[in-house]
């Protein structure tokens, strides 16, 4: 699970005359400089500020019914009458091009050759050459529910996909058409109504509908540590007077490696080259154990995570 750094904060409309904020399921994206753009079931577009204040930008007419992002780095909207996806600029949401007609979708990734959408388990693709047909490109996550896809690294062709029911997140490589190993994580507990990612800030944004109120939470791209493995010696158990590498691994609840955490090693006998060690990007912390000169039995070594 990613680390919560802000929120949850309730969403409140800026202008009292507006309808309460209404985050449509699966209709959110992050726009640098403007914040979290969300779409409501009333077909309006709102900008959510980090304080929870919501500013209306798109009116209910002509009405938008989907939100997404293009591979060349533009937010995209579709209008509910033509089902035509277009790149737009915020806040005016003005059309820039004729766009692409697709069957109704709430959230897409517009690539050069195809448009991706995510069901909660499957990455599916509409080829631009035959947009009415869509097919499973890859099965990434498990579990029921709807999903979202949003940009992680456009140059590398990588997109985050999230199952909104479980809040599980995975990284998808749209070039290799496969999940990128080692990045599976979650944005707290589900269900979510929407999720987005700021590439500039390396932060995740998630919306939930809790107790009749829409809420915003912000997560750092850093897992919460959930476990630390027992210290293990390499290449073999220590002998009297020997030096051995000893290491422990810090992982999150979905086995995400936790880098940058301080692990302290202690032992009933013997000593360490460094007792406090920072984990590497793979979550491992290692140090050198100096066994006592004389034989000893019943000694124990302990690794403790200092958060």
């Amino acid at each position: 699970m990613r680390s919560l750094v802000h929120g949850p904060v309730d969403l409140v409309v800026a202008d009292s005359g507006d309808q309460p904020p209404d985050v449509g399921v699966g209709m959110a994206t992050w726009v640098d400089g403007w914040g979290l753009a969300v779409m409501g079931s009333g077909f309006e577009v709102d900008l959510v500020q980090l304080t929870g204040r919501v500013v209306r930008v798109g009116s209910a007419w002509p009405g938008w019914s989907g939100i997404g992002w293009s591979h060349d780095d533009h937010p995209c909207l579709t209008d509910r009458f033509s089902s035509r996806w277009r790149r737009v600029s915020f806040p005016a949401c003005g059309d820039r091009e004729a766009g692409v007609v697709l069957p109704p979708r709430l959230n897409v990734a517009m690539l050069a050759d195809r448009v991706l959408w995510f069901t909660g388990t499957d990455v599916r693709a509409h080829l631009l050459s035959s947009p009415s047909i869509d097919a499973v490109e890859c099965t990434v996550l498990a579990g029921a529910g709807s999903g979202m896809i949003f940009p992680a690294d456009l140059q590398a062709g990588r997109w985050w996909v999230v199952n909104l029911q479980t809040a599980e997140l995975a990284l998808y490589d749209a070039v290799a058409k496969d999940e990128v190993a080692g990045f599976r994580t979650s944005l707290g507990a589900g269900p979510l109504t929407g999720a987005a990612y700021s590439r500039a800030l390396d932060l995740f944004f998630a919306t939930r509908y809790v107790g009749g109120v829409h809420q915003l939470s912000v997560y750092a791209n850093e897992p919460v540590a959930a476990s630390i493995s027992a210290p293990a010696f390499t290449p073999s158990a220590p002998r009297a007077g020997s030096l051995r590498t000893v290491r422990s691994r810090v992982l999150g609840d979905l086995s995400e490696p936790c880098g940058g955490r301080v692990v302290t090693f202690s032992a009933t006998v013997g000593s360490f080259d460094r007792a406090a060690v920072e984990t590497g990007p793979d979550g491992w912390a290692e140090t050198i154990y100096r066994a006592p000169a004389g034989p000893s039995t019943g000694a124990s070594v302990t690794a403790t995570l200092v958060e």
Binding site: D15, P91, C93, A200, A220
Partner: protein, 355 residues
């Protein structure tokens, strides 16, 4: 107000008492509700129609602000078109002219003002047609622009700048799109957009056009249709008589008239206002650490500063304070500022950010 307000007229758009209005040829009163006690005034704004300002030396200063409004009144014929003129510095009422325009104008009171000062009426209910008016009498001069020449049969919003060879027109009945054309050739140059339905097209002194929408977003474009930025004003308060925007060509400011409800005695509460088109800082986000702070680890803390609509404010200097340490950083083009933070000790650390 999310925009920097620089002017509120000292005097309202004053109303007349019944005795000050020309006697009626008929005995009965039009709009008798205007005189239901404790109301005493014989007229009231029905719709604010236009506001503009420019060089016009007077006893208070070098410029004036004019407001046009459609009136309803107790005397015959029951309606009127009135122009108030205030001085541009204090907003003292200089004059008012009544009995302008004609009956068709009074029921379709859509006006726009050219940067050169000419007043246009584009409310013809039968034809998409804009006609130049004599500024003193509001009678047509004979200069006409037809929507049909630009491929439209509807003209819900319109502005023209003949000196710059440009026409701006909204052709959808409730749309957020405005078309930019050359006046001479009718060639379409661009579509420009506001978030919501456009209610005013305001042309500035320096070749920019502001689209003001029903959400009080103000989107700025140049005459080629290039987007130059967006601001948001506070949503206009209850305005039973409408809202209209214009430009003050002398003081280079955005003018607004909000048709607020009359006082209990029927007196006018409507005053022209002026704003410099720059947002005031409206919201400073809480400081957000990009990673979880830990003792001895340097992380970056992020804050965002924005105007009322969330429009990013570049260049504002934000000061981050964490314990005894502080650093000041200028916000970037996205209104974002990042400051390094290295907690020296374990435990809670209060991080604050101020402008």
């Amino acid at each position: 107000m999310g925009l920097r307000q620089c002017f509120t007229a000292a005097d309202p758009l004053a109303y007349r008492l019944p005795a000050d209005i020309d006697p009626s040829p008929f005995e009965f009163l039009y709009h008798p509700d205007l005189l239901v006690a404790p109301r005493v005034y014989g007229e009231e704004i029905a719709t604010v129609a236009a506001v503009w300002g420019g060089r016009d030396p007077n006893r208070y200063g070098p410029s004036s602000i004019s407001v046009l409004a459609i009136m309803r009144q107790v005397r015959w014929p029951g309606w009127d078109i009135t122009r108030w003129k205030h001085d541009g510095q204090e907003g003292r009422l200089l004059s008012r002219d009544v009995g302008l325009g004609g009956a068709t104008m009074s029921t379709n009171g859509r006006f726009s003002v050219e940067p050169g000062g000419a007043v246009w009426w584009y409310g013809d209910p039968y034809v998409a047609r804009a006609a130049e008016l004599d500024a003193a009498t509001l009678q047509e001069t004979g200069s006409v622009i037809l929507g049909a020449d630009f491929g439209t049969l509807a003209l819900p919003a319109f502005a023209v700048d003949r000196a710059a060879d440009r026409v701006f027109m909204r052709t959808d009945t409730s749309g957020s799109r405005v078309q930019v054309h050359r006046l001479s050739t009718q060639a379409k140059l661009a579509d420009i957009w506001a978030p919501g339905e456009v209610r005013s097209i305001v042309l500035t002194h320096d070749g920019h056009v502001y689209l003001v929408d029903v959400l009080d977003w103000i989107c700025c474009y140049d005459y080629e249709g290039r987007f130059r930025g967006a601001l948001k004003a506070t949503r206009a308060p209850s305005a039973p008589f409408g809202v209209v925007y214009g430009w003050d060509h002398y003081f280079k400011r955005l003018l607004r008239v909000v048709g607020t409800a009359s006082a209990t005695d029927g007196a006018s509460t409507v005053r022209p206002e002026g704003f410099f088109p720059e947002p005031e800082a409206w919201e400073l986000s809480p400081p957000l650490p990009l990673k979880v702070p830990r003792k001895g680890r340097t992380i970056y803390s992020f804050a965002h500063i924005a105007g009322e609509g969330g429009e990013p404010l570049a260049g504002r200097r934000l000061t981050f304070t964490a314990g005894a340490a502080s650093s000041t950083v200028a916000a970037d083009a996205n209104g974002d500022a990042l400051a390094p933070l290295t907690p020296a000790a374990s435990g809670a650390l209060l991080v604050q950010v101020t402008e």
